[in-house]
Amino acid sequence: MPTYDGGHYFLSVLVPIRTDTMNDGLADTSPVHALRKRLSMLPTAAQTPACGRVQCPFALSTRTHFARLAIIDDVAYNGREGRNTLLGQLVGSDLVVAQSQDHLSCPFLLFAVDFDAASGADSERKSYLVDLWDKMGPELRNIFTFCQGFEQRVKDGSSFAEYIAACQLETTMSFNDYYVDPLNLPTWPSKAYLWAGAASLVAVALGLVGTLILVIVQLFGPNLASPLRFAVILAAVGILALAIVVVAAYASVMAAGEKPFPAAPDSNLPTVLKALHLQRAFTRFAIDSQMLAVGTDTSSAQRLYDDFATFLTVNKPNELGDPTQKPGVIGV
């Protein structure tokens, strides 16, 4: 179930963009043109010089790992659908006549975001979107105002969540980067299915060969109706069993694919941020204390002990709150 995987909700949304002509304050233009300009002015990170040290509004949410906004103008045309030349000649296809091409009825705004969630339940999606609206409502309105139906339907966080839910697509390929150690997952029992498949095939082969031999022998006189019936039934049962094995294997693989990965340990955003803070703070501590660590006298050992106690008191490794790294910040 890639929409929810590894403790993270992978929200994929395609929102239709308005197609009426509008005025952006400077000139008459299209909503997609105006939206593209708004998106380009949205700060991506305080470290990016072009953003003038203004932080990305998504950083106000402590559940957002990644957020992406992009415009899908149309579907790409990949050229004619290929066809075997001889077959084309036979059915009389004319290469000069253009094939029909697919196009979107309007441009779409892609909104893809990974956020912390306890499950893939709709309530988790809603609570995230309502929280996002509370934190960056004006910025969201600035963007989604160019989308169809937004102004009529969205009044508050709750209606924003409903609006987004109506445009949600199933995420089929999610990206999760928090597994530090390899996962210990059960292996799909491929051998069991292979054995079952092989046994079914043997039954089919025995049944078919037996039928063939018995039919040939019967041509020469003896009435073998009874064993012949047995052979035919064996082949039929074998075919049925093979079909069941194939279907069961397919269903089992698909069912396994539907199961979300377990959440990687400590992979929610507040923990990741705390870890980054501790990594930096402990590096500082290690640099400052390395000579104490190799001292052989009791006073340096005591000082190291005291300094580490101070480190624990100041940095509170067991608490997710301050001091921690601010979301959306890289480096100091």
Binding site: T283, A286, I287, Q290, M291, A293, V294, G331, V332
Partner: protein, 540 residues
């Protein structure tokens, strides 16, 4: 069928390192083209003097010369062009636009990405005059470097270059003067100084029995240029398989093979099992390659001072009582090799180092291979050789194999051939303001994919080494610690947990190496040079 190279079509500086072949002296000349037709004539006139990859007999190297051998030149001469040089030569637009973006940009445009703007220093202020004299558009500025001519010369017993270097220089000067339309661009030193007409190069030297002999070391004191990629077609058959050990590509079963030719020469299949696109016509690109010219100034005094100051603390943390052993180990942990080139991966401690040198003394025919034949697979966290040591960053070998059993697959497309020579004097008492460093000539078929990737991702960043923003302790961009440049540069030397000792972390590493200039050049084949000279590059 193995690749058979037409050695007579390939310039000699690609396949071999002149410095190691008895050419410890060098002189590099930069030119500007004022008139295309005269410049083409110059190329044609120079053509017979260009040193190709045809092998000459050597009394020093055991490398077989193959079936063809030419006599050994006194001065090896090679030529290369910047993109604006090709433009000035009136190469057709279709050929020019087939050139890679980074080559068209040139090195100064790429400086921020390469980390050459260290400490926010503007290359226009820090680089040598020859590279910074361009004030306007490079397509019209009379100071744009168009052509690089490299002369590599043998040395007299007194340490001076042989007379032929001066003779060849005068001949080239006379040729340029007689044809006209091309000017020598001086300024291979800092603004404010008397502009140096040429970039002079010299290997470091030693003295024995009154004779001066070249040393294989660079200014910091490390033995240099031990490992360079080996590719298909570079050496005669049986020798190639042998030198590929430690220098080629490693498969999952631990077997070495030469790298694909296309990684270093255009027009051949590369490690992606395809012939990469190149400027048309194919005959113009084939057997040619790209070269990054980098003048790297070395702050030798800063390096020595830092080592002296840090070695005692390092020794205390690592439990190395002898100060000189602590110093040697620290230097080795920074470079990945001991000062004489012995790899840490084969000799992690001073005791192992001594043992290695007893087993493979300088005179041993097996030493060369032993210096290169090692992997990182058994040292995933860098207890023997730190993952962030200089050598392990530049050539990651099997160190990045995702599950540990894929060999050097993630390294094979990131290899660079290092040519070049040191310049200047760094003997005791010479300050860092003096000229001393190394001219690195980095050869690869894609500067973007190979050189720039290694420089940006592996030398000036630490993600692939799981080391955050740490840069290469030797040649990396070392932040002095500021809001803009981030925290002070640091370097972590992991310790063996079994030793019970903490890792050593050194913080506030000064800038040891500074870029003083350079450019990206195309090194054409002899065919392409002929086509350029005749003005018959036809991409249609």
């Amino acid at each position: 069928m193995a690749v058979t190279l037409d050695l007579a079509d390939i310039q000699g500086n690609i396949l071999s390192a002149y410095g190691k072949q008895g050419f410890p002296k060098g002189r590099f000349i930069t030119l500007h083209i004022d008139e295309a037709d005269k410049a083409r004539r110059l190329v044609t006139e120079l053509l017979p003097a260009i040193t190709t990859a045809l092998r000459w007999p050597s009394h020093r190297s055991k490398t077989p010369t193959g079936a063809v051998a030419v006599s050994r030149p006194e001065v090896a001469i090679n030529i290369a062009f910047s993109w604006y040089g090709l433009l000035a030569l009136e190469i057709p637009t279709r050929t020019l636009r087939g050139m890679p973006d980074e080559f068209i940009d040139g090195m100064m445009m790429r400086a921020p990405m390469l980390g050459d703007d260290f400490n926010r220093r503007d290359p226009m202020q820090a680089w040598d005059n020859v590279w910074t004299a361009v004030k306007g558009a490079r397509s019209t500025d009379p100071n744009t470097v168009h052509i690089l001519i490299t002369l590599n010369a043998q040395m007299n017993a007194d340490g001076t270059p042989i007379a032929a270097l001066e003779v060849r220089t005068r001949e080239i000067e006379a040729l340029i003067a007689s044809i006209g339309g091309v000017r020598i661009l001086p300024g291979h030193n800092h603004p404010g100084q008397e502009p140096a007409t040429y970039q002079e190069l010299t290997a470091l030297t030693g003295r024995r029995d009154g004779k001066v002999f070249p040393l294989p070391t660079e200014h910091f004191g490390y033995t240099d240029a031990l490992g360079d990629p080996v590719f298909d077609g570079q050496y005669p058959d049986r020798h190639e398989a042998s030198v590929a050990v430690g220098n080629g590509a490693l498969d999952g079963a631990g077997k070495w093979r030469p790298l694909a030719t296309g990684e270093f020469l255009l027009g051949y299949p590369d490690e992606a099992q395809e012939i990469a696109g190149a400027a048309m016509p194919l005959a113009f690109s084939r057997n040619g390659t790209f070269m990054a010219y980098r003048k790297l100034h070395q702050n030798v005094v800063a390096f020595r001072t830092f080592m002296t100051e840090t070695a005692a603390r390092f020794g205390a943390v690592f439990g190395i009582a002898d100060p000189s052993e602590a110093m040697e180990t620290l230097k080795a942990k920074i470079a990945g090799r001991w000062s004489d080139g012995v790899p840490l991966s084969r000799a992690p401690t001073v005791a192992d180092w001594r043992k290695f040198n007893l087993e493979y003394p300088e005179t041993s025919p097996r030493r060369g291979r032993a210096l290169c034949d090692f992997t990182y697979g058994d040292d995933p966290v860098g207890i023997k050789c730190p993952i962030t040591a200089h050598m392990r960053r530049i050539n990651t070998r099997d160190g990045l194999a995702p599950s540990g059993s894929e060999g050097s697959v993630l390294n094979n497309r990131r290899r660079i051939i290092r040519r070049g020579l040191p310049y200047g004097d760094s003997s005791d008492g010479v300050p860092d303001s003096a000229e001393h460093g190394i001219i690195m000539l980095i050869v690869c078929s894609s500067l973007f994919r190979q050189f720039e990737f290694v420089q940006q991702q592996w030398l000036n960043y630490g993600l692939d080494a799981a080391a955050g923003n740490d840069t290469c302790p030797l040649v990396g961009n070392h932040s002095p610690g500021s809001r803009e440049a981030g925290p002070k540069a640091k370097y972590v030397i992991p310790s063996d947990p079994k030793s019970g000792r903490p890792p050593f972390i050194v913080e506030g590493i000064p800038q040891f190496v500074e870029t003083r200039g350079g450019e990206y050049f195309f090194v054409p084949s002899m065919t392409a040079l002929r086509m350029i000279g005749m003005g018959v590059v036809d991409p249609t």
